[in-house]
């Protein structure tokens, strides 16, 4: 009896973890990468807004984080992941793949340029981050469903 209970408890303990591992669907990974982008935008936005002091290393860390996202994000929209996990992906990603790829390329290029620019002042940061933010907006304009 004791051994049986122990086994049940062990199974219950393992279950959530195993579910998490098995549930790393493209939809969830997409979501996580967008969260990562947002977290990276926070310090940069804070500096531009004047709420945080300029720090070149922090800004570069954000750029590197975006570069990781740029490298992975586009691969996470296979057929069959149009819905699920409350995704905000618009169906146009699948019906107008070429247009979506153009938006991804804009982001990728803007991030690469920002890294190359290696901004050392607030003005340089503004110039480097501006095109990145612009690419976020332009992709969200056409390919994200707005939910509350």
């Amino acid at each position: 009896m004791y051994r049986f209970l122990l086994m049940i408890c062990t199974l219950l303990f393992l279950l959530p973890g195993s579910q998490l591992l098995a549930g790393d669907s493209p939809q969830e990974q997409r979501h996580e990468l967008m969260e990562q982008s947002k977290d990276a935008a926070k310090p940069v936005g804070g500096m531009l807004k004047g709420e945080m002091e300029f720090n070149a290393a922090t800004a570069m860390a954000s750029f590197e984080s975006w570069a990781t996202v740029a490298g992975e994000f586009g691969k996470l929209f296979p057929e069959g992941t149009e819905t699920g996990y409350d995704t905000e992906a618009k169906k146009e990603i699948w019906t107008d793949r070429a247009g979506f790829e153009v938006e991804l390329a804009k982001f990728d290029e803007a991030v690469s340029r920002a890294i190359a620019a290696n901004p050392q002042s607030l003005d340089e940061l503004k110039a480097a981050a501006g095109p990145v933010f612009k690419s976020c907006k332009s992709c969200h304009e056409a390919y994200r469903v707005e939910k509350e």
């Binding site: 936005g45 933010f133 969200h140 304009e141 994200r144 469903v145 707005e146 939910k147 509350e148």
Partner: protein, 287 residues
């Protein structure tokens, strides 16, 4: 039978009489030296270019439950645009939703909001539109289903839904909130997307700015009242910063059709964006 016929004739005449498109008295136009710089501000506040196009030549299709509305050419072209219009014709269109030929416009053209604008600001806006290049382009008529294609019927619709008074009456004597109200309820026509509509397409004023279905597809247009489902957690300066930069307080970005609107509002003054924020924080919170 004869009485039924007579009744129908009387009803028809009555319908024709009450739906007569009105016109402002030319004497209602003030003596005004138009200021096209002020007109440009209202051009951006109203996001004119986002529907009519950067060159104002029109052509965008707005799909709705009533059919497809085709956005007209408002460039100063005298044949296909509004080049030959008098000041009175322009003010009639913006405030009464009536064309120079005396026909009702469909409220897909949001005169239900523009009707709250001051005549002076409208004349300034016209002066700014006159600075554009004329473009010859005729985007063609709307494609609507019966009974919505009976244009005269809009006269009845206007009796119920067209009103010049402010929606949120109390501004607590604050001139900033009053300015915000003027921009949001008038030129900005925010409610046309952010407020739900009834089955006749009229705005549900008791749901003012509390969000609505996205008129152009999936998703929702968000609640922008100070309710916890809306902007309760946003400070006034965070709303103003969003309108300026496109960033939410946690640095998500603006998306969908709001991108174009935000980029227009970024061209207003800081004071006007602050006034809009103050108004949005002052209105009744609704779920």
């Amino acid at each position: 039978m004869r009485w039924i016929l007579a009744g129908l004739v009387v009803a028809g005449l009555l319908f024709w009489w009450v739906t007569e498109p009105p016109s402002l008295n030319p004497a209602a136009l003030p003596d005004h030296v138009a200021d096209s710089a002020n007109g440009e501000l209202f051009f951006h506040a109203g996001s004119c270019a986002s529907c009519h196009g950067e060159d104002l030549a029109g052509g965008l299709n707005l799909h709705s439950d009533f059919g497809t509305f085709v956005v007209p050419n408002i460039s100063p072209d005298s044949d296909s645009g509004i080049g030959g219009w008098s000041d009175l014709a322009f003010v009639n269109a913006m405030m009464l939703g009536v064309s120079p030929g005396g026909r009702h416009y469909y409220p897909s053209f949001p005169y239900t909001s523009y009707t709250r604008m001051k005549v002076q600001d409208l004349l300034d806006l016209k002066a700014y539109l006159d600075t554009f290049q004329p473009v010859s382009n005729n985007p063609g008529p709307h494609e609507l289903d019966f009974p919505w294609n009976v244009r005269r019927g809009i006269g009845l619709w206007k009796m119920r839904y067209l009103s010049q008074g402010p929606v949120v009456a109390d501004t607590s004597g604050s001139s900033e909130i009053e300015r915000g109200r003027y921009l949001v309820e008038g030129a900005g026509h925010c409610a046309e997307c952010h407020t739900s509509r009834d089955r006749f397409g009229g705005l549900e004023l008791n749901q003012w700015l509390a969000g609505a279905a996205n008129p152009d597809g999936e998703g929702r247009v968000p609640n922008i009242t100070p309710h916890q489902d809306g902007l309760a957690a946003w400070s006034e300066s965070e709303i103003a910063y969003y309108l300026e930069s496109g960033f939410t307080p946690d640095f998500d970005t603006v998306g969908g059709s709001m991108v174009a609107v935000q980029e227009n509002l970024a061209r207003l003054t800081d004071a006007d964006r602050k006034a809009i924020s103050a108004y949005l924080k002052s209105i009744p919170a609704r779920p």
